[in-house]
């Protein structure tokens, strides 16, 4: 089969990218950029516009005038059209539509405390990208020339998660790993158990109980896809389950950020809640980026939870396989191939994440002692040293300190007008995290730590790529959510799913608000 379609679409998209880059570079759209307050994206418009525009024009010409025959070259080059299609949609939203929504929303004034409507609803480039994807597939359909490449969105997300590995410190990974293992372990096993229990009460078939429990408990559609053949689910049971999960996932992606803003949850709290309470893993990332569009701290927490969930997947599938065979009266030792289940369901991309984390820890991307991609260097400019009035603010509050090590660190900073060592910096960060000083003094301390913390260039690049890969991946995944599949939600799975989904979301929120703090 020849995959490449002789179509001018890719060439046209390439010209659009180049035109954007040219206009952004030459100042041709500076009026619009100023109006949208999108100046921070101008660099991206030029760099990405020229780079991806050139690729699209070249491959687009090949699509249009080349002669195509069956083979790997045809297959891989045909996917460029779909990938550029997703990228163009994602970037038009990131550069223009999302800023326009923000401008309009700010024009309406604050709606919740100091927060604007678009902040409360999480209407940023990620959520708008997913919505655009859903509209495109359901209203306009994916063009035939783009079908092959749209699947690349999965690769984009997995690459994003792998690169995310560079941004964790060992302590952070340990703390988040422990928290996610406890939370996910409790709620995954709890949801699976609750679905099986309710399924028994409502007399649903074992195959339906099995596939629904995996979907509700572990990671939504992905778990359903993994478990359906193992528990021999019937087609209608799969349709019910996936429909129910998609409706819940998309609904939660919009609802969670609103509740998070109402309760003023911190990034760790929200990431942990989304990572536990949202059924479908794609929407976990979407909700995290909706909650914090200009940073990836929430995404980092949510993705650790996602990874923990996916690591649970082979275990749950194995459990369900044994459970199903037992329920159906078979001999599990003969029928369940444990090795094959674990091997096939193991998420290989998690190894990539661990590898990137290990490389980052050795100092390949940033000095080895970096914290969240930032490293200590107190060779700061004269202008960044503490001013007299700032010294006076801190001196006035230094008496509030009890611990000797903290007193020493503050005195050393006041003497030198800058933080002198990485240990002092850790202690000073502890002082403002503990909110011992007044707001004004804390601001000075934060400024002092910021002056000696520098983001490694490679890490900065990774951060940009992670954001883009997630925007690309989630927009593409939106293009794979059809109303027809969501409409299949129904029957007992909708009732059981509704009960378990609500219990899981509410209980996990209570646990997080009560027991999870913002300092990890």
């Amino acid at each position: 089969m020849v995959y490449t379609k002789k179509h001018p679409a890719l060439l046209i998209m390439g010209i659009i990218f180049v035109a954007i880059a040219y206009l952004a570079e030459s100042g041709g759209m500076s009026g619009m950029i100023d109006y949208l307050k999108a100046g921070k994206y101008a660099g991206e418009m030029v760099g990405m516009g020229y780079a991806f525009g050139a690729i699209a024009v070249l491959v687009g010409l090949w699509h249009l005038i080349g002669s195509h025959s069956e083979g790997n070259l045809d297959y891989y080059l045909s996917s460029v059209a779909g990938a550029i299609f997703i990228l163009l949609i994602a970037m038009l939203i990131r550069w223009y539509l999302a800023p326009l929504v923000a401008v309009i929303s700010k024009g309406l004034g604050p709606v919740m405390g100091a927060k604007y409507l678009h902040q409360v609803l999480g209407l940023n480039y990620v959520v708008l990208g997913i919505v655009a994807g859903i509209i495109i597939v359901n209203v306009f359909r994916i063009p035939v020339w783009a079908e092959n490449g749209v699947r690349l969105s999965r690769l984009g997300l997995k690459t994003g998660v792998i690169l995310l590995g560079t941004l964790y410190s060992l302590a952070e990974l340990q703390s988040l790993g422990k928290l996610s293992a406890i939370m996910v372990g409790f709620f995954v096993l709890g949801s699976v158990g609750l679905v099986l229990f309710l399924g028994k009460r409502k007399n649903i078939p074992n195959s339906m109980g099995g596939v629904l429990s995996a979907g509700m408990g572990v990671c939504g559609v992905s778990a359903t896809v993994a478990a359906a053949p193992v528990v021999q689910a019937k087609a209608v049971e799969i349709a019910y389950t996936i429909g129910t999960i998609l409706i819940w996932g998309v609904g939660c992606m919009f609802l969670f950020p609103v509740v998070g803003h109402m309760l003023d949850l911190g990034h760790i709290q929200f990431g942990a809640w989304a990572g536990t309470g949202i059924l479908n893993s794609a929407q976990v990332a979407g909700a995290a980026l909706a909650y914090q569009p200009d940073g990836i701290e929430t995404l980092k927490v949510a993705e650790i939870f996602n990874i923990t969930r996916v690591l649970f997947l082979p275990i749950i599938v194995l459990w369900l396989a044994v459970w199903y065979v037992k329920q159906e009266g078979g001999d599990e030792t003969q029928k369940v191939n444990v090795g094959r289940v674990v091997f096939e369901k193991f998420p290989v991309f998690v190894l990539g994440f661990i590898l990137m984390f290990a490389m980052s820890s050795t100092g390949v991307f940033a000095p080895a002692q970096h914290y969240k991609g930032k490293y200590f260097d107190n060779n700061v400019k004269e202008s960044k040293l503490l001013k007299d009035e700032q010294v006076a603010v801190i001196s006035g509050e230094a008496g509030k300190l009890q611990r000797e090590d903290r007193k020493k660190a503050i005195n050393s900073m006041l003497e030198n007008r800058k933080i002198m060592s990485i240990d002092d910096e850790t202690l000073i960060r502890g002082i403002y995290n503990a909110k011992i000083f007044s707001k004004g003094a804390n601001k000075v301390l934060k400024g002092a730590t910021k002056a000696v913390r520098h983001t490694a260039k490679k890490i900065k690049t990774f951060r940009q790529w992670i954001t883009l890969l997630f925007a690309f991946g989630l927009t593409g995944l939106g293009m794979q959510i059809t109303f027809a599949s969501m409409k299949q939600a129904g029957g007992e799975p909708l009732i059981i799913g509704g009960i378990v989904g609500t219990v899981k979301a509410v209980l996990s929120l209570i646990v997080i608000v009560l027991f999870v703090s913002e300092s990890i």
Binding site: V137, S153, R154, L157, K158, C219, G220, V221, S222, T224, V225, A226, A228, P229, K234, A235, V236, I238, A239, I242, G243, I245, L246, G249, N280, S281, A282, Q283, N306, V310, L313, E344, K345, P347, V348, G473, L477, G478, Q480, I481, T482, A484, S485, K487, Q488, G490, G491
Partner: protein, 155 residues
Amino acid sequence: MKVKKIILASHGTAGARSAEQFALDHCLENDASLHQLLVVPDFWKGMMGDDWLNNAITQSRFGDYVESQLAREAADELDRLTQICEQAGVNYSNTVRLGKPAACLTSIAEQGEFDLVIIGSPRPKGISGYRSRMDLELLARSLTIPLMIVPYPQR
């Protein structure tokens, strides 16, 4: 109107079986032949949803599994009606299509020398099953042969 060849859209639900019985009676009365159209709804193409965590082996296994399930369900349904028609002495043939039910039906109706289309009425609310209904407006606008809708059982 002399009806010699009937097309029946049926996938074995209660409503479709009601239509099936009516079509069989009609065939026996008029010595007509029966052609069954079984449509596998095309929403299955998007049923992998937004899964991104699984590897290619798992996705392919799921695709093969769903395909085999749908094929088995279709084969069971066709076998069932084949046997009923054999026993009743009705000349029977069938077609299986993947797509939207109404579009498939109009396309098949255009191709054969059919005299009548028979379908069951939509499932009442609260009865479980796929949400893939026949677009009656499309049928009414597109069909060039008479359409008969048989009421749902016990209605």
